[in-house]
Symmetry: C2
């Protein structure tokens, strides 16, 4: 199969209560990505979109077709993907295959969500539809509760006292808020301290407000193309080196493996193998920190730290620029924001621009980065999509 | 790219008010398809699912991962597709590419929906989310209204008096109800006459109750495989010869072309070209008769009849077994039923079994059928997915 590259990127400001519709949000970032790719809308042959709750949020399904035709990508094949928070990554992964296979040369992939208008309470209940709705949600398993349970399991399995674990979790959030200060698209521009985190509102013990990402409105888009097309159009194409995706059943069916997320470990193995690379080869990582404990579990599942050791890694600066593996230099879901269907595409945007060396002006460039990995989790370990890019 | 075939099929009874969850409905038909394919659940490498309203209908998103792991397809990549009523066909089309490319050898594709529990009024409003929600739905464009408008345009453009058109539309429904009598999976087993149709409840003039498909609960699944695998496992593999997909913007943006559906005509051209076949080569067709006028428009868009002439074709029996092109011998959406996310997969089930010669016992075999085409429409012309199979 052919090599496939990102040749254009677009990203909205992530925010609360955007006055724009999802079609509008997606249209704007798509036009940016198309312009950066030096193509016209008519050159786009097909569109994939990650969008989880368009119907719930504003009564608009099939956003993929409406936005594509609004911006002049007339009559293209347009597909919407849903895998909860991993929807955007799934849309990218699928597009890579359509171009790699030779069927299409140029595709546009977008992600969009408006998750804030419904308010935090309703949004938390709505998001819980992406856990098991028959047995586990009625037992109280909203996502804060799920990750609280994982934190307790983590504490118990690795012998880390809860008070220590909470300080480690706080360190994850503190770093994300610090780096988000340098990301103009981030939703939250406010530094916090470990003490701020530990004093914040208790959501579901031991998860506190500052362990949790916000609800977010936003969109991101990328244009991808075959290597041949990419070399003609782009001075700095960033290639897809590996892709992976795996799923699990309901949370209770994963009990042997928790707090490790088996779907993640399979998906990362698939992408490392396809790329012929190992965790040691990675120069940066954007991973799914919906909660700070989720970030710690992810960093271990991706092979960067021993199990039970990632909290210390964050505390010791190993996840910072200049550290062992820079993680979530965008500010992550925690401070950049988490518009669910857009998140995976936003991560591809971030890593692409890092690998191109485009983040110098924003003061958060990972110097000389060649390989980046993108990890996106859907639901409570139910689906993980993985993308590995290099230059 | 490699040839890809259907090697297993499964189909639930379509019905009102199924007591089963979507995970259960999908699990049952998937097991049937897996058994027919002579494989075990562990042989399935990835899963695609068409599902439109799982979250709305029963508060369950990401049905693809939950059902896959419940039936023993552990940890596979599992993706959900949404393109309104075309979701199932999109899931099949996408899987064809993943197998054709060589990435996977065996995939399971399912479709499922529970659309009846919310009741007709709420379902009609809910479905309208798959039209444009910003300008057109607030102006009254639920789907019955859209297809009523298309019927008026059809009447006007082709000079067919409305009274004549209504008799033609009735003939479409009468045929579907007749053939559904021979389909044990059909939702409605009740023959109707033209007079029954013309006397039925007025929904949105000139669309009457007997011009409209019902709301339906149900599921369907197919196992697809590479040619090499298919030849080992199946005595009668049915191959994908062509695929197509196209979209349009909101209804008002399609006004130059209506009542023709441009996305359909593009998608069918793509699939005919890929297969190296023409409409004359087709031996049977399952097409998207969400309303009787939609069936007539589809049959013309697929190239079977001249524009404005398909109503007469139905009246003259050209769409029956033994006629020019047997259409919707399953009973179609009108009488077999229309569980939206499952419909495209159900159509593939029907055509596969027809091409294998398996419908003799049910008394609705299209003798000697070699080529079949499957047409699925999403929304008001917003998305069309097309699949062409042969043996």
């Amino acid at each position: 199969m052919r090599r496939v590259a990102v040749i254009g990127t677009g990203h909205s400001k992530f925010c609360f209560n955007s006055p724009k519709t999802q079609v509008e949000l997606l249209s704007e970032v798509a036009i940016d990505a198309i312009n950066e790719a030096n193509i016209a809308p008519k050159d786009v042959q097909a569109v994939n979109v990650g969008n989880v709750l368009g119907d719930f949020e504003e009564g608009q399904g099939m956003v993929q077709s409406f936005f594509a035709n609004d911006i002049g990508c007339f009559n293209v094949a347009a597909s919407r993907f849903e895998g909860a928070c991993a929807s955007g990554s799934m849309a990218v992964r699928d597009a890579v295959m359509w171009v790699a296979s030779g069927y299409y040369d140029i595709m546009l992939v977008g992600g969009v969500e408006k998750a804030t208008a419904m308010g935090t309470g309703l949004a938390t209940r709505t998001f819980a539809m992406f856990g098991d709705s028959r047995y586990e949600f009625p037992a109280g398993f909203t996502f804060p509760a799920v990750f609280a349970l994982l934190a307790h399991l983590y504490s118990s399995k690795y012998g880390i006292p809860l008070a220590t674990l909470k300080e480690q979790m706080a360190a994850v959030s503190v770093q994300s808020h610090e780096y988000a200060m340098n990301n103009p698209n981030a939703q939250i521009h406010k530094e916090i301290t470990v003490q701020d985190a530990l004093k914040s509102f208790m959501v579901s013990s031991p998860i506190q407000l500052q362990d949790a990402c916000p609800f977010t409105d936003g969109a991101a888009a990328v244009v991808i193309a075959s290597e041949e097309v990419a070399k003609k159009l782009s001075k700095k194409p960033v290639y897809f080196a590996g892709i992976g995706q795996a799923s699990s059943g309901k949370l209770s069916s994963q009990s042997k493996y928790l707090p490790r997320i088996y779907a993640r470990e399979l998906a990362s193995q698939q992408s490392y193998k396809m790329a012929g690379l190992t965790p040691k080869d990675m120069d940066l990582c954007e991973l799914h920190d919906c909660f700070s404990i989720a970030a710690m579990i992810a960093a271990e599942g991706l092979g960067f730290f021993e199990y039970g050791k990632s909290g210390e890694a964050w505390q010791n600066g190993e996840t910072r620029i200049g550290g062992k593996i820079p993680i979530n230099i965008s500010g992550g879901l925690k401070a950049k924001g988490h518009p669910i269907g857009a998140t995976g595409v936003s991560q591809v945007y971030e890593v692409t621009r890092q690998l191109r060396g485009d983040m110098v002006d924003q003061g958060r460039q990972v110097e000389g980065a060649k390989n980046g990995i993108i990890d996106t989790l859907g639901g409570d370990g139910v689906l993980v999509s993985m993308i590995l890019t290099n230059q």
